[in-house]
Amino acid sequence: MSDARLDPLVHAPRRLAAMAILASSQSVEFTFLRDHLQVSDSVLSKHMKLLQEAGYVKVVKRGRGRGASTWYRVTSAGREAFDAHVAYLQSLVAGAPVSLGEPGAGD
């Protein structure tokens, strides 16, 4: 079980949604995430870059030319951060004492 911890990077609504999808999948394609989150390519790229830089997400390029696609996969550190963040939210609901975690990037 993960420690309940607020993760400012995961806390932003778009990134929380992206992490929720990634955490329940093996890998997800860029367009699936973009369509699901209803954001533009550039907005999604910006969010995914932050998650990638934090080591929460791994990028895999598949194919070449017109058939090329970008796939994302959550890393074990990303899964741990997401689980800890969800545990933090659940502890808030339950009224348990929680850790505010380390400061990081906001939305």
């Binding site: 999808i21 955490a23 329940s24 093996q26 394609e29 699936f32 699901h36 659940q90």
Partner: protein
């Protein structure tokens, strides 16, 4: 703050369920799988010894390519471990159904005809696949609506 947390947990749950709800299989998925099953089983009608080695290898490759094509088409590769229990139960039921079909087809092939066995198994896979897909979607919708048992 507590209300915000409830909303966020609900949003996480909804997004995770949407992975299962918004990635329907392409229309060609089950017909192509049925054809693969037919070709695999009916190849044994040739009666050649090498077929018994080549056919399972070719069929395994076909299943790999088939699954890869579906993942590319839907844009999402599911994760059994993160799948909600009622949906996992549907997947297990589908595999059990598949094993039953293949078992019945092998018995029919050995006793009657491999071509007939292949044809019947192919049809059963297409029909069963569509039933599974509908049941899975219904379960996912029920979960999203908070009605799942």
């Amino acid at each position: 703050m507590e209300t915000d947390a409830i909303d966020e947990i609900e949003a996480v749950r909804r997004h995770q369920l949407d992975v299962h709800r918004s990635a329907p299989l392409p229309a060609w998925a089950w017909p192509s799988f049925g054809i693969g099953v037919f070709v695999f089983l009916s190849s044994y009608a040739l009666g050649e010894a090498w077929i018994s080695i080549a056919a399972p290898i070719a069929y395994s490759l076909f299943v790999g390519v088939w699954a890869g094509s579906i993942v590319r088409h839907t844009g999402v590769q599911g994760r059994l471990r993160g799948t909600p229990r009622p949906l996992q139960a549907e997947i297990v039921r589908a595999w059990a159904g598949c094993a039953l079909i293949i078992g019945g087809a092998v018995a029919l092939g050995l006793l009657v005809s491999w071509v007939l066995a292949g044809a019947l198994a192919g049809i059963a896979v297409v029909a069963g696949g569509r039933v599974y897909e509908r049941r899975y979607a219904d379960r996912a919708d029920a979960l999203a609506a908070g009605q799942a048992r």
